[in-house]
């Protein structure tokens, strides 16, 4: 299809969708209205279970089954991405590509900031997971922080240390294990919010470490020997 036809087709579809959406949205309850029947019930239930962060209560207690589904989507897409990238990586390595070990020159300021931030960020990630049942935070947010914190080492220019810190097979098994633990716990003991938070945190963290690690491997793969790279 030519670009022009495609754009015209989109314009027609978008105009129709916009008209229908606007008509629908104008009939919704007004923004900021006081009627939230589901929200009120969820708050009441969370307070009854004395989980002070209602959102964690909804995710890991009242709707734990839904969260299983989301967890499995997360794991499936992480596995898919890792497998796809592994195939590409294997073929490139067969053709004689090599890994470049991080940026060639890192300023001392960046190096120090990277090394200093790493433990602090890891600590914040653990704190966010551990306090997810009480204050804003939880397994999903803390897992994201943990999964990205490790890669501060790349910022510090220490790619070999980064590779030592995240052995891919260990993270793969840990992720699968955490997903299994989460499913078992959500089926057997939905409502153990801190424990479920921990399992989700480990799983999200491992998934992100795997994903970003694989993408890093791809990005750092070069055909030439390390001397001739830009």
């Amino acid at each position: 299809m030519r670009t022009r036809t495609r754009t015209l087709l989109f314009a027609a579809g978008a105009a129709g969708a916009a008209a229908l959406f606007t008509a629908g949205a104008l009939d919704l309850p007004r923004f900021g209205g006081a009627v939230h029947p589901y929200g009120d019930r969820a708050v009441r239930q969370a307070l009854r279970e004395s989980t002070t962060n209602t959102i964690s209560s909804v995710n890991f207690d009242q709707r734990a089954f839904d969260t299983i589904g989301e967890e499995l989507i997360l794991m499936a897409s992480a596995i898919g991405a890792v497998v796809l990238l592994r195939v590409v990586g294997k073929e490139a390595e067969d053709q004689g590509a090599a890994h470049r070990h991080g940026p060639a020159e890192v300023s001392d300021a960046l190096r120090i900031v990277g090394y200093l931030l790493l433990p602090v960020t890891l600590l914040i990630g653990v704190y966010i997971i551990a306090h997810g049942a009480q204050s804003p935070g939880g397994g999903f947010q803390g897992g994201v922080v943990l999964g990205t914190a490790v890669h501060l080492l790349y910022l510090a220019g220490d790619y070999p240390a980064l590779q030592r810190l995240r052995p891919i097979p260990v993270f793969e098994s840990t992720e699968a294990l955490a997903a299994g633990v989460f499913v078992a716990m959500a089926l057997a003991a939905a409502g153990a919010v801190p424990a479920l938070n921990g399992a989700v945190g480990v799983e999200v963290g491992c998934a992100l470490v795997l994903l970003i690690g694989k993408f890093f491997e791809q990005a750092l793969l070069v055909r030439e020997p390390p001397g001739g790279t830009p």
Partner: protein, 115 residues
């Protein structure tokens, strides 16, 4: 003001789809898809907002004071954001595969499905 946030969410969705339709680069298209997805976050949170309310966290205040925003839609959005990121990563991995197999990631040059 009364329905403006919903319309803003609709605008974000449509502008994201416009980006996908006119994209000349698969990575650009994937980013536009994530913009489209963010429209749903805005819609959900706008529906859950309540005038004069605060966040649904009770760790530092009594339970029956000020009203709170709807925690159900917030929980949905929260998981959606993290899961959406891994799905974006999967799509980007597919784009890397396409670049490897076909030597281009311009969807206009990917004529057919032969390998």
């Amino acid at each position: 003001m009364s329905h403006l946030p919903y319309l803003a969410a609709g605008w974000i969705v449509i502008v994201g789809i416009y980006g996908i339709v006119t994209s000349r680069d698969l990575i650009h298209a994937v980013v536009c898809l994530s913009v489209t997805q963010s429209g749903t976050y805005v819609l959900l949170l706008a529906i859950g907002y309540r005038d004069g309310a605060t966040a649904p966290v009770f760790s530092d205040r009594p339970p029956h004071g000020r009203p709170v925003t709807d925690p159900v839609v917030q929980a949905m959005t929260l998981t959606d954001i993290v899961v959406g990121a891994t799905v974006t990563a999967l799509l980007l991995a597919l784009a890397v595969q396409v670049a490897k197999r076909r030597g281009t990631i311009d969807p206009g040059e990917l004529r057919s499905l032969e390998s």
